[in-house]
Symmetry: C2
Subunit: 427 residues, 2 copies
């Protein structure tokens, strides 16, 4: 099946917005064992739209079109479809009613341009929209618009990511899955998410396993600073595909060991919070180079307040002394970027906050070079409390200033996760 | 001039990575008064590449092709170009030398697959690469590959954003500018960046000015939580274009007033840091809902350490008492999300840190509903010190949890900027 995407909108070609729907849709197709052959991005011009629609309908089997379904005059999708395939626009009375009810519920009045949003090309399958105003629809295009056998199914969806992804997830993906399964192929996808392992090491650990799992496809994805394994198993029944997926996931997790923090949709911050909550521990940070990022990452998880007490962000040496009781002579002897300072910061945060466990971070993020003993990218992280001795980890990251700060914040979370789960510390 | 982009790479169509080069290039073209007509995104497949290259060369005047110039076998660009336009690949000895020298400087040895990166199609203009290993090149394609008059110029660039953007900025944009100027058209672009104003208000302030500036094009861009005005002036000389740009910029800045924090490339954090440094002030934060984001935003600016002392992240009430001397009975009477608590936090941070000025943040980010008096999205920010009385601002943001936290951090920076510059506080 040749699947393509057409993203429309001036904001996508004028430097205003990156098209994230494509990336998301490509990932969703991987889970079905399909791939996105091509994405086309155009601005809001009728002639560009008409020619792109004709090209795609001619050669693809399934096309997802995003955008151009809004209320304003530069929302051209319905007109473009009608011109491209010789159809007439009609107002769908059911959709008009849906839009009117939606506006009523929001306390707003329908304006004539909102009525435009109930227009669809005559003969289209009306999909509606449970996530917003614009009316989504699908259209099957055959002769004389094709250069290949069969028909092309085009789905016209709003460009707003929550709306597009909602409708694709609820309607298109299940339909695709049924179509694939009707051919006797069942697929099951999984992710195994890691922190603290280079992509090449992950690859070396996973590739030797694949020989024993012949019905499995494998890929990696490295959204900084994570490293994810993607697995796709095929079987002649849903059970078989799932069992094969379970088997490869088990082997992959065993091979990767404790760098694995979770599966699809999980984050290191979420996994860390869950591990701390399981223990009933409260946590406090002591942050220098990260300036509050570690604490903010944990606070980003809804419901963090039963675990996170806070963070003593001591960017200046004066505050390391005042707020964390780091002795002045320690700072003079070892400097603020040192194992000794990291230990004193973590223990200071533990004592000053009353938390069950505390993690500190200090280092040189750059752009300055640091010094010979502690070159740019050097980070010390110490963990105190949690029923163990204070431990310190030294790592060096060869990234730019803000990526060093981001990965250091994740390192702090990982130390907490590891102590809460009784795992060894890295490095 | 019809300008298109072709982005290649499996990672772009499989849900691994969003293509940000397109967005950047579209923005860069706006500054020249040109527009990106279409972007095509394909995976690493030779047949897809060959057909896309032929299509684009047939109809466009300028095409930027990204990716596929790496050392591995799925880097297919040179082979695709040769097949599409009947050319032969050749190894460019100068580029081979450049790559060898680069590897030598990094202490690495050249492997045979790196030698692949010195290959170019015979007859191409070799552009080299000052930002990385892969060799960039350009190619002019004419008959019989065209469906329109004239030739198509194709630029083949690495997909790595720093490399692509560096080469386009150094080489392609100046060439385009000269070509436009050779036709007697000179253009000058500006940005005016604001925080704390809705896009619709910005539009209402700017649109009435345009009648007096007939040679100016205007656009808006709202990268959350900023709001940017983009201006493009045209003239028959460079001076005229610049004077027209100066004139509209002056009027726009006057109309928008103190929500303007800077121009192109500037950030609110950078502007805030500069304003504080100008005053010689040090700063300390007291953060609850943001969990450290305000302090981290300031720390993201290189050289922040002469201004930023730190932040007392007091997520839990116990730390608001312990670390910021917020009285227990104040918390009991008013709650942690209150004007009184924000004031006490800011004053506590000022006293406890020895900073010249301090800002506090407390609020309900959600997903919980908050209460009637302080519904979800309510944020209090107080500023103490800096030679003025302690002031408090209450705002409500109708966003999701993490966007409320992000915009609240920016609000704290904006209070500091305003106090340092002697401007009124918002709200």
């Amino acid at each position: 099946m040749r699947i393509e995407m057409l993203a429309t909108g001036d904001e996508l070609v004028s430097g205003v917005l990156a098209d994230t729907n494509t990336t998301w849709f490509g990932g969703a197709l991987f889970s079905l064992g399909e791939r996105l052959a091509r994405t086309t991005v155009i601005g809001d011009r009728l002639d560009d739209l008409v020619s792109a629609l004709r090209e795609l309908a001619a050669r693809a089997d399934l096309v997802v079109v995003s955008g151009g379904l809004g209320p304003t005059l530069d929302d051209l999708t319905v007109d473009g479809v009608c011109e491209a395939f010789d159809l007439q626009p009609v107002v769908d009375s059911e959709q008009l009613e849906r839009i009117r009810a939606r506006f009523h519920a929001l306390g707003r009045t329908l304006t004539p341009n909102n009525e435009r949003q109930a227009r669809v090309p005559d003969g289209a399958e009306v999909l509606g929209n449970e996530y917003g105003t614009a009316t989504a629809f699908a259209l099957e295009v055959g002769e004389p618009h094709r250069t290949r056998p069969g028909t092309c199914e085009l789905w016209f969806l709003p460009g707003v990511p929550t709306e597009l992804q909602g409708i694709v997830g609820d309607r298109l993906l299940p339909r695709l899955r049924r179509r694939i399964e009707a051919e006797g192929v069942h697929r099951c996808a999984r992710e195994v998410r890691c922190f603290g392992i280079p992509e090449s090491h992950m690859d070396q650990a996973v590739v030797p396993l694949l020989a024993a799992h012949p019905h499995v496809r494998y890929g990696t994805r490295v959204p900084f600073p994570d490293a994810h394994v993607r697995l796709l198993a095929e079987g002649s029944t849903a059970d078989e595909a799932q069992q094969r997926c379970d088997a490869i996931e088990r082997d992959v997790r065993a091979a990767l060991g404790d760098v694995v923090f979770g599966g699809e949709g999980e984050t290191l911050a979420g996994a860390t919070l869950a591990a701390l909550r399981q223990r009933g521990w409260t946590v406090c940070f002591a942050e220098s180079l990260t300036g509050g990022l570690a604490s903010a990452a944990l606070a980003a998880v809804p419901g963090a307040s039963d675990v996170l007490l806070g963070s003593s962000v001591t960017y200046a040496e004066s505050l390391k002394e005042r707020w964390l009781d780091v002795p002045q002579d320690l700072l003079e002897r070892h400097g603020a970027v040192s194992e000794a300072c990291a230990v004193a910061m973590a223990e200071g945060a533990l004592a000053r906050s009353g938390a069950d466990v505390a993690v500190s971070l200090t280092g040189f993020a750059g752009p300055d070079a640091g010094d010979d003993a502690h070159p740019r990218g050097t980070v010390f992280a110490a963990i105190a409390g949690g029923g163990g001795p204070t431990s310190v980890v030294r790592q060096r990251f060869l990234f730019g200033r803000n990526d060093v700060r981001r990965i250091a914040a994740h390192l702090a979370l990982d130390l907490l996760r590891r102590r809460a789960l009784g795992l060894r510390l890295p490095g």
